[in-house]
Amino acid sequence: MLLQGNEAIAEGALRAGCRFFAGYPITPATEISEVLSVRLPQVDGTFIQMEDEIASLGAVIGASLAGVKAMTATSGPGFSLMQENLGFAIIAEIPCVIVNVMRGGPSTGLPTFPAQGDVMQARWGTHGDHPIIVLSASTVRECYDMTIRAFNLSERFRIPVILLIDEVVAHMREKVIFFEDEKIEIFNRIKPTMPPEWYIPYEDTPSGVPPMANFGEGYRYHVTGLTHDIRGFPTSRPDEIGPFIARLHRKISSHFSEIQMAEFFLTDDAEMTIIAYGCVARSARRAVIEAREKGHRVGLLKLMTLWPFMRNAVERVLQTAKVLLVPEMNMGQISREVKRVNQGVAKVLTLNKVDGTIITPSEILSRLEEAL
């Protein structure tokens, strides 16, 4: 099947069980809205175009709280508007998925060309200390798979999950093969099984993720963006806030292996490893193949989970690599993290491009050759 990245995201969402979408049109994410405006009502779902992106994420959070898997999609300007409600979903622990098809920025920037400038915003855009999960995709098939993964992680850990997509991946048409017997795992939020009078909505559990009751199912409780106690009521008591915020972080940090996903391509003996994500990982793969043909021991670490940052994956390639190259379509956002993990072990090179054009295999190759 020939599919566009944005269409694959929409189909992936439906496959994951998404039945609510609220959004506001913005290039280069609009096709996701358009497809879902057609597809959702066919499956008894709801599509609504809101008055802005603040409203879009508000509606998505509301729908999720009422028990329906929900998503929104936007680009930089809209993503900036969503930051306050994003923090709300984090503190109130309401699952939802936010797709950000990145454009060049700042501001209205470069709407129809690729860039990867929102990596740090996705991590730190909303105020206050918080955990977050951010995923990326390089192919149309991955757009589909990572959307499903975004929903699964979001439901599993009761946290908003951000899917950061490059404009070229979103607008690219590729052949995608779906096999009839493909097994796709779908995770649904864990609901309380105890009687309502025993339900303590924000009580700690071994996993750090409390079961979630949907509004209207008989478990009446309070949801707030204020720091709250285990019953959900606002609190300013240090002995309640400390454990609460710690749990929010622990539920993610104690599950890195479930959340983090990367591909290692010819890295086992690599003296030079490229660390890339999104469309750049495609160019990097090509560059690795060409470099290998010339006899260089080069590998690729493709990050599919951007946040929490994959320290383990970088440490693994550092076992053999003397040089790490981080090509990015920004001024160096993931490369900072790589340097932080590297701690001077290998030489970390960057290759940054912010002119709205993609990084090509030959640009990566020549940067590698400079270092040889």
Partner: protein, 279 residues
């Protein structure tokens, strides 16, 4: 036990750490009574009621009552409520906002929710000021009045929230005051029972902020002002514009029928399914 005490015991949350956050004498408490009475009279199950609020003194109301309660971000309560209602149309979704919440930061959401005619009830507690943050001017602070950010005088014109709601397309709009408790009870009941986007503007007093800065006296004196300056809509029709200067119209401002979003969307689903079948 008197009837009212029984009601309070039935609907207030017992596990919530009282005392509440409001100043003694605040109008929000009177409104809470009207809300509980209206819900009780209609006989909604607690499980089917969702109270959604924004941020402000008014926004703190839901935490005290035993429903599904959601305290959102400043100005955005209606957007969350929209998602809840569309996701589960069986819920009775009631949104409580302050004036700043509803028509300053949330003004865009307010007019669009009214225009869309989603089946929600929006209640705005209009105390002419930003209470929670300490008495700054709001879009409903009258011209010439003082606030902590207009100490020389407010030079802006104020919004008439109910009239705004009528223009934006709400199917039911009523205005009451916390002094006119009976009227408030009946407006709330009518609004809850109305299908579509219904609005109740509740004129309230913030004696600690607005009252103090403008020397309007105690809570009681401010309520007397409400008594003396409110004119029923029907009576106002027979009055000259000069006589209505500075007065507040109370009662039902509009009660009409317009297509309701959910019902319209049901038709969209049917069409979508039919076209999917045709391929």
């Amino acid at each position: 036990m008197p009837e009212i005490t029984k009601l309070i015991h039935h609907y207030l949350r017992h596990d919530k750490k009282f005392p509440h956050v409001w100043c003694p004498g605040c109008g929000i408490g009177i409104f809470l009574g009207a809300l509980i009475r209206a819900i009780d009279r209609i006989g909604y199950e607690k499980d089917e009621v969702v109270l959604v609020s924004g941020i402000g003194c008014s926004g703190r109301l839901p935490v005290y009552v035993d429903f599904n309660t959601l305290h959102t971000t400043h100005g955005r309560a209606l957007t969350f409520a929209t998602g809840i209602k569309l996701a589960n149309p069986n819920l009775k979704v009631i949104v409580i906002m302050g004036d700043g919440d509803a028509v300053a930061i949330g003004g865009n959401h307010f007019i669009h929710a009214a225009r869309r005619n989603i089946d929600l009830t929006a209640i705005i507690i209009n105390n002419s000021i930003y209470g929670m943050t300490g008495g700054q001017s709001s879009p409903t602070t009258p011209y010439g009045m003082r606030s902590t950010t207009t100490v020389y005088s407010n030079i802006e014109q104020s919004f008439k929230i109910s009239e705004l709601a009528v223009t934006a397309g709400a199917v039911f709009v009523g205005r009451g005051t916390v002094y006119h408790a009976k009227l408030l009870d009946s407006l709330m009941e009518k609004a809850f029972l109305k299908r579509g986007f219904s609005v109740v503007e509740v004129i309230s007093h913030c004696h600690t902020q607005y009252g103090r800065q403008n020397r309007l006296g105690s809570a009681v004196e401010m309520m007397k002002w409400q008594r003396d300056n409110a004119i029923p809509v029907e009576k106002s029709l027979k009055m000259r514009p000069e006589e209505l200067e500075g007065k507040i119209l109370i009662g039902v401002l509009v009660d009409r029928e317009l297509p309701i979003y959910q019902e319209e969307y049901e038709k969209i689903r049917e069409r979508a399914k039919a076209s999917a079948e045709r391929g």
